[in-house]
C-alpha cells in the first residue's frame, strides 16, 4: 500500500465515521479544494517572488498546512471519482514532455504560458 493509498483509506474512514459521505460529492470536494488553493494564494499574494523563495517560519508553516489541505481534498476527490491521481499525474508528465520539447521550450515562459 503506497502513501497515497494510506491517505485515501484514512480519509474514507474519517468521512464514514462522521457520516460525511453525503457532503462529499465530487462537486463539493472540487469547491473545497479550490477554496484551499485560495488560502495558499493568500500566503504569497503580497510577497515578491524572491520573498516567496525564502519564507519566514510562520509563512512556511501556513504554506505547509494549506498544501496538506489541498492534497487531502485532492486524494478524497479522486477517490470519489475512482481516479488514481498518481497514474493521472504520470500520464500528464508524458503528455507535457511531448508538448514542451526541452530544446524548443528552453527558457521561454511564452511556451509555458500555453500549458
Amino acid at each position: 500500500m503506497t502513501e497515497i493509498d494510506r491517505l485515501r483509506e484514512q480519509l474514507r474512514a474519517f468521512a464514514e465515521a462522521r457520516d460525511w459521505e453525503k457532503f462529499h460529492s465530487p462537486k463539493n470536494l472540487a469547491m473545497a479544494l479550490a477554496a484551499e488553493a485560495g488560502e495558499l494564494l493568500e500566503v504569497f499574494q503580497w510577497m515578491t517572488e524572491p520573498q516567496s523563495r525564502d519564507l519566514p517560519p510562520d509563512a512556511r508553516a501556513r504554506a505547509s498546512e494549506e498544501i496538506a489541505d489541498v492534497l487531502l481534498y485532492l486524494v478524497r476527490l479522486a477517490d470519489t471519482l475512482g481516479i488514481d491521481p498518481i497514474d493521472a499525474a504520470n500520464r500528464k508528465i508524458v503528455t507535457n514532455a511531448a508538448r514542451y520539447p526541452a530544446d524548443k521550450a528552453r527558457g521561454s515562459s511564452k511556451k509555458y504560458t500555453e500549458l
Copy 2:
C-alpha cells in the same frame, strides 16, 4: 523512493532541462495550482451533485487531467519550499481528528463548514 518522490524528481529534471526554475518561484507555482483548481471547478460548475457522482466519460477524462495538473503543481511547489506534502497531510489528519471528534461532528455540515 515513493511515488511522490518519483514525481518530484521528474518535475525537477523537467524544469531544469527547460531552464524553467526561474519561473518556478513558490508564488508563481501557487498561482498555477490555483488556476488548475479553477479548471477543475469548470468541470463541475453546472452539474448537480448527483451528476457529479456519475460523470460521463468526457467529463471524467477532463477531471482526471485537472487532478493531475493540480497534483503536479502541488508536488513542485512543495519541493521548492522544502516541504514534504505527505508528512504535512499526515499531520493535518491528526489535527482534523482532534478538531472534529466523530461523535460530535456526526452528520453535521455546520461543524464541517468551520474546517
Copy 3:
C-alpha cells in the same frame, strides 16, 4: 461620475495614503481577487443548491462581504491595468449573445459549459 468610478477613486486614495501602490501590481491583485473568490466558495461548498438559494442570515452576511472583497479587488485591478470593467462587461454581453443564441442554448447546460 458613476458608482464604479467612485469606488475606483476611493481605492486609489486608500492605497496612496498607505503607500500600498508598490504591493498593487496586477499580478498581486489578481491573486488577491482569486483568494477572495476562494472565500466565497467556502460559504457555499457544503450547501446543496437549494440551500444556497435561501441563505440563513450569517451565511448571507458572509457572502455579502466576500462579494464586496471581490468587487473591490476587481475595480482596483482594472484601474492598475487602465481597463474599464463596465465597458469590458458590456462587450462580453454582446459576445455571449452571439455565442449562445437563445433558441439553440435553451435549457442546455452543455452549451453553457463551453462558455
Copy 4:
C-alpha cells in the same frame, strides 16, 4: 438606473431567455466566478510583477475579457442573493479604513496580509 443595474437587468433577461435560471444557483455561480478568477491568474502566473504592470496587447485583451467574466458572474450572483454589490463594497471600504489606519498601515505588507 446605474451601470451595475443595467448589467443586472441584461443578465436576468439573458438567463430567462435561455431557461438558465435553473443552473444559476448561488452555489453554481460562485463556482463559475472562481473559475474565471482562475483564468485571470493564468494571464499573470509566469510574469514578473513589473511585466504585469506593462502588459503586451494580447495579454491585456485576455485580462480585460476575464475581468468582464468575473464582473458578470459577480453581478449575477449578487442578484440571485438579493445583495447590492455596490452597497456591500461601500460598507467594506468603511470597515477597511477603520481596520487599516493610514498612519499605522503605511508601507507595511504585514498589516495588509491580515486583510
